[in-house]
């Protein structure tokens, strides 16, 4: 079953090229994805999901 939190993933895209992303889930509960990553094929870039928050900043701006 698709959860609300998977719907959140569906409105996300690569911040650099706007392509769709491939979701990998490391940890989730019945409500949401806690950790994992979103991968952009075109840019060969991973965007981490940590503590339930997708970090969609390009790598050079992350911290």
């Amino acid at each position: 079953m698709k959860t609300v939190k998977h719907e959140l993933m569906e409105i996300l895209c690569c911040p650099m090229c706007k392509s769709d992303l491939v979701l990998t889930v490391d940890e989730e509960n019945d409500k949401e994805i806690i950790s994992g990553s979103l991968f952009c094929d075109k840019c060969n870039e991973h965007y981490p999901i940590e503590d339930g928050i997708p970090n969609m900043l390009p790598p050079d701006l992350r911290e």
Partner: protein, 191 residues
């Protein structure tokens, strides 16, 4: 933990985020008056998430973005789906309403204080740097008949921002206003 209460809701606050003030409250008021039930809402630059908290009561879905990691953590703490990104950068969806309380103060180089505070307040020399980018990009994230609510100050230039929105193809109306001793705050609605 520090919290702030407005109307009937209490919002948790974290350090290094914009603390909700008159501008936040005016945007909440404008949202409550203009929101259509069942809407999908996007808030950019959400800070604590206070505006989204009120949106969530009346909408199908609310998503909030902020570039500040403390802000997205705070919004999530307040029950909001938060995404760390620069305005719309990592967002591809379209929404019935997009709301934004931007950094709107004209800020010169020597007025910058450094750190997260600049991101909350600094609108560049004109006060409209971030607003200009927002207005350019917001159209692609609006559904048909979608609406924009943008809070600005008289210090930002109400006529100038209205023109920016009109140039982007929106019809613009002022839907809320509050006067303070050094500025007037308004909410512009773009359709």
């Amino acid at each position: 933990m520090i919290s702030i209460t407005y109307r009937d809701r209490t919002v948790q606050l974290l350090p290094n985020i914009y603390e909700p003030a008159e501008d936040s409250f005016l945007l909440v008021d404008a949202l409550l008056e203009n929101i259509r039930p069942g809407s999908h809402v996007l808030e950019v630059g959400c800070g604590s998430g206070i505006v989204s908290v009120f949106a969530l009561e009346r909408c199908v879905s609310v998503v909030a973005t902020d570039i500040n990691p403390h802000a997205v953590r705070c919004a999530r703490l307040n029950g909001i789906d938060a995404v760390r990104t620069d305005l719309f950068a990592g967002i591809k969806g379209t929404f019935d309403m997009v709301v934004f309380n931007p950094p709107y103060l004209p800020t010169s180089e020597d007025e910058r204080v450094g750190g997260w505070d600049d991101l909350m307040l600094d609108g560049g020399m004109s006060g409209r740097d971030i607003i200009s980018r927002f207005v350019e990009e917001v159209g692609t994230h609006l559904k048909t008949n979608g609406q924009v609510l943008l809070l600005i100050s008289s210090l930002t230039g109400i006529n100038e921002v209205t023109s920016l929105m009109q140039d982007a193809g929106m019809s613009v109306e002022q839907v809320a206003e509050s006067r303070h001793f050094f500025e007037k705050l308004v909410v512009l609605k773009g359709l």
